[in-house]
Symmetry: C2
Subunit: 154 residues, 2 copies
């Protein structure tokens, strides 16, 4: 009798209880919220993040960009080719080390910086979070990622 009764699964295995799912869903939600804003700039979300890095520091190599964004060349190479196609960046082998490819903003890529400033402002307004709450949440997420990049204990 008991063996046939349907029991509620332990809360540790319920989707809604999972931090991992909340994180996965929230991340896609945020990306989706950026999409209409970025569409007017002609950028996808990972392309926008890449441009953020370049607006901060131009002339990085693919590897340096990958370090900042935590993405490898398998992701970045095609993404950067599309940004080049769109006329926003140039890709050029370094003469000092021919293995490296330097990514530089074009005038057009540089010009996109101004209209892009509206994006974080618009998103901040939509999130309805105080600046402090946003910082705290951001730091908790950074801490979480840092924890996972630690080599496994035991």
């Amino acid at each position: 009798m008991m063996a046939l009764m349907k029991r509620t699964p332990p809360s540790s295995v319920l989707l809604d209880q999972q931090l991992c799912f909340a994180l996965y869903a929230a991340s896609r939600s945020v990306t989706a919220a950026y999409r209409p804003l970025l569409e007017s700039l002609g950028l996808t979300y990972p392309q926008y993040l890449t441009m953020l890095v370049l607006w901060e520091q131009d002339g990085l190599t693919v590897r340096e960009l990958g370090d900042r964004l935590q993405l490898d060349s398998g992701t970045l190479t095609p993404l950067l080719k599309r940004l080049q196609q769109a006329g926003l960046v140039s890709r050029q082998r370094r003469r000092s080390d021919e293995r490296e490819v330097e990514i530089r903003l074009t005038a057009e890529g540089e010009a996109l910086r101004e209209p892009a400033k509206a994006v974080p402002e618009c998103m901040a307004a939509r999130l309805c979070l105080s600046s402090e709450d946003m910082q705290r949440l951001r730091d908790e997420l950074k801490q979480l990622a840092a924890q996972l990049s630690q080599p496994t204990q035991v």
Copy 2:
């Protein structure tokens, strides 16, 4: 003179200051941390989330699964075909409504539930977060996603 000086960009545009990037990076970090655990089960991360839903409630339609996971048929149909290929689920049109496709766990899919229980336990240990902190972070992320799904004010 001043016009040529390189200034530090306003903090609102620095990658490291962005909540959106922290969320994007943390989400990929967590997925990466799950990968080796799920590999032994023969599942990818989205496949694992799908199985979590089915272990909780079997016999859902593609749409119902999509509601729970916030994924559309464009993502789920190929994912479910792979789970079927792996022998973990069956896909069958409902006689009551031929538009709907019912997803059911096979015996093999059901059997995976037990070894899968170790996964959240193992991850919880790696995160080094108290149960309370995990719940709080999870709820903040849910709140954030909910906020973004609101229609834009103003």
